[in-house]
């Protein structure tokens, strides 16, 4: 997951990495933003759709907990589609 493995955890860098990864995944899925936000909301997500949009366009930092929920929402949604 972390290509720059050995060095001690740089939270800022890790966040950038994760955000980039999530944003990239989102672009590949062809998932409408509103659909992702709705699902993420269902998982207990706490940020609004516009902030999610900004986050996915790498224009906004959001708390790590929310990042994890967004990633989870994307994974579950995609699993659902391949079923």
């Amino acid at each position: 997951m972390n290509p720059f493995g050995t060095e001690g955890p740089e939270p800022a860098d890790r966040a950038v990495e994760e955000r980039r990864g999530t944003a990239e995944r989102f672009r590949k899925t062809d998932l409408p933003l509103a659909r992702l936000w709705t699902y993420y909301y269902g998982l207990g997500g706490g940020i609004d759709e516009m902030s999610l949009d900004a986050y996915l366009h790498e224009a906004l930092d959001i708390p790590a907990g929310q990042v994890a929920l967004i990633a989870m929402a994307m994974t579950e949604l995609m699993e659902g589609e391949s079923l």
């Binding site: 409408p32 933003l33 509103a34 659909r35 709705t38 699902y39 909301y41 269902g42 998982l43 207990g44 708390p63 907990g65 994890a68 929920l69 989870m72 579950e76």
Partner: protein, 243 residues
């Protein structure tokens, strides 16, 4: 002359597409443009009905009377306009008093002062159907010429409407909204329980749910459902459980 006016109309419809904040506003604009095509004296009311798969219909009307007429049709779940939209065929009723199809509905429409009806299908995509409905307060209000004009108008609307359905499509999926609401309720309930038991915060509780979902290869909502039903907490006892 006719060409000029239809050109202006399609410009108007494009502007409408760009300026409408949501789908209902867009449809309302289309209904108003359609009514103005048929004369500016307000003697004809236009409504537009769009039904989508698994979703509620959206109805827009150029007047209050039209809205009531469409709602009546929905109450009967049948009528000239629903027929036009669902079966994609044109329905013309020159005089409501001498027509015997949809008798219950037509009676209700007569009471509203309607004497003739024209319903034109608007082709969309395989997941939805739409129709333009015109109500007039005198019989025989729709000449052959008007019918042809509205046929062309419906074809022009078809293009913008298909774009609008795509633009505004993602927002209106009632099944997804319902699923999200249900999931949120369960997750929130589970989060409350976890917080209470661990004297912890919301973030931490969500994390517990996520970890349990990941390690059990299950969906978060399933894990949350179990917890709400009384299953033990999937507590990540990283410290060996010592308090």
């Amino acid at each position: 002359m006719a060409q000029d006016s239809s050109l202006t109309t399609s410009d108007q419809m494009q502007d409408l597409l760009l300026e409408s904040p949501g789908f209902p506003e867009f449809l309302l604009g289309l209904a108003t443009i359609s009514a103005s095509l048929l004369g500016s004296d307000g003697s004809v009311t236009c409504t537009i009905t769009v039904e989508r798969d698994g979703g509620p219909a959206t109805v827009a009307s150029s007047s209050e009377e039209g809205r009531r007429l469409d709602e009546t049709q929905y109450a009967f779940d049948d009528g000239p306009c629903l027929t036009a939209a669902r079966q994609q065929r044109l329905v013309l009723i020159p005089d409501l008093k001498s027509d015997h199809r949809w008798s219950d509905y037509l009676e209700a429409a007569l009471k509203e002062g309607v004497r003739s009806v024209l319903a034109v299908p608007i082709p969309t995509d395989p997941f939805s159907h739409a129709g333009l409905n015109c109500y007039a307060n005198r019989m025989g209000a729709f000449s052959e010429e008007t019918v042809a004009l509205l046929g062309e108008h419906a074809a022009a609307m078809s293009r913008v409407l298909r774009i609008a359905l795509r633009l505004h499509g993602a927002e209106i999926h009632p099944d997804h909204l319902r699923a999200a609401l249900k999931s949120r309720a369960v997750v929130d309930a589970a989060v409350s329980l976890i917080m209470l038991q661990q004297h912890g915060g919301r973030e931490g509780a969500l994390e517990v749910l996520q970890l349990a979902a990941k390690s059990g290869n299950r969906r978060m909502q399933e894990v949350a459902t179990d917890i709400v039903r009384g299953a033990g907490l999937p507590g990540p006892r990283r410290d060996g459980g010592q308090e």
